[in-house]
Symmetry: C2
Subunit: 349 residues, 2 copies
Amino acid sequence: MSSRYVVIMAGGVGSRFWPSSTEARPKQFLDILGIGRSFLQLTVDRVRPVVPIENVIIVTNKAYFDLVKEHIPDLPEHNILCEPSRNNTAPCIAYAMLHIKARSGSLASFAVLPADHIILKEDQFRLHLNQAFDACENNSAIVTMGIKPTRPDTGYGYIQLGDENTELKKVVAFKEKPDLQTALEYLDSGKYVWNAGIFIWSVTTLTDAFEILYPQIIETLNQSPDAYNTAREQAYIDEVYPNTDAISIDYAIMENADNVFNIIADIGWSDLGTWDSLYDYGSKDHNGNFAQGGPAVIEDVVNSIIKTHPKKRAVIRGLENFIVVDEDDALLIYPKDKEQEIKASIKKF
Amino acid sequence: MSSRYVVIMAGGVGSRFWPSSTEARPKQFLDILGIGRSFLQLTVDRVRPVVPIENVIIVTNKAYFDLVKEHIPDLPEHNILCEPSRNNTAPCIAYAMLHIKARSGSLASFAVLPADHIILKEDQFRLHLNQAFDACENNSAIVTMGIKPTRPDTGYGYIQLGDENTELKKVVAFKEKPDLQTALEYLDSGKYVWNAGIFIWSVTTLTDAFEILYPQIIETLNQSPDAYNTAREQAYIDEVYPNTDAISIDYAIMENADNVFNIIADIGWSDLGTWDSLYDYGSKDHNGNFAQGGPAVIEDVVNSIIKTHPKKRAVIRGLENFIVVDEDDALLIYPKDKEQEIKASIKKF
């Protein structure tokens, strides 16, 4: 059990949830639900019953090192791995793998989790996580935890599953974000799950996969394997990491591996990728408003997200289906059903 | 000429224009039109060609002493008179009068001007101001500068004028804010002007008026006439001023005096008492928006007042006829046609 690790990917820059999320304060460090814990804290809390904190590794950008320490004060400092550059997920996971290998050898296993998702059914999640660890330790299997879809969402990638009648189903293919018609077919078929970016594997299995499917990354990062888990790890990583290809783990490994198995997870998951999904998950008042922040007088406002500044008073009246977010450095007032155009609006600055 | 003074009343607490105007930063100190000068600065600038700065007296609350110095750096410090308590306009004007008397004697004359109005036709205003000084110096007259009405406004008090065919018309009566029907009759008759709170008189005439019509104030303030214009003036005022009745100059003097004359002024005046009046006077873009503040992307917004925070970015979309004001300590988002209800909303905090 002590050679099980959880690797939390916390390097994202948070282009969504503007203006609450910014490059200096990305989503994983926000308590956007207003429950007193950031996404990163919730993610760590969620796995504490599964692995000791010493086996929780957080991979992040150097710029967020202090934020990670502040959010998870009991995390050993050397469990924070800092990417010197943003090279997408495959190099990031390979780095964590090599670090774990240096600490616990090739038989160690680890789960990769995004730092900014929510999971309401945590017991069920942990049950599946342990099942996945068992599976990847007992087989040369790459295990994914795909989410049982609840709607024909066109915003997620899908994982196509085999027909076998077992808990662990062979993955047939990874599918890009579908159009609505395709998403409806996926949902009806019962053979597709959402790709939540949750992967579980042993160091041996993933090393093999990298060596066969995408050797450039592991060759670049493993020139001095004895640098890992030493005082010179960071300097070494600073030198070699920027030279890896920048590619996602999906493209580099998952889509081409033939030993991927999935556990279907019905765990109350959301990636909370949009204000609207926050609205869906957050608790609303009798006017259908998700309201948070400082003292506010809100009148004739319905079905809106109202996130006022905690240190300011706000008087807001006469809005329907709006997003209002007041942060230190920016103010957003936007129709909720136009959310997907916020990015385009921001580009006009 | 050197015994002509201008007294600017700058003690208001600014209950309108929330949240831009607050008790700590009332309207007279704001550059709400975005033209680079506060209302107080504009008011002083406006009279500089009429009297030397040494003869400009600003009466304000003690709390605003530093703000006045900051806004009018060339004003001699002893020209800032500080009320220790808010006792309405009659005691305030009586204090200024006694101060001027101590400096220049009973033959001095002075105009009283609000600090937070705008006047677009300044030359015309100054012409009338000089006419008023002449009139009050040559007669025992109290002179008001009433504004020629341009609409049946129910938000102002009116001054009823006599029939005589002279520049200076006898004031028949002061009228409270009328209902719309009455305001229409006033407008049609051509015999009424708006009371803009602009009064001009000599020290002698006003002293007589106080002694006859409201002696309590002058008796309270003039127990030690030799304290004025000395180092102990402030201590003396701190002691006696709070003991005067708190009453407006209109009630104490104007409505009961029989020697009030008016000069009809067509001077592009507004008291800018509402966000809507600011909207009317401010310059609007092609979408009919009065927009000010920091960098902003404003889309599908029409006929609105958008005053964003100068140090923040703002993305605002999909509003019509709104007031949006983002200040350090408060945010307002409110339908423009409901402006009169903002006060009631604020009371709900």
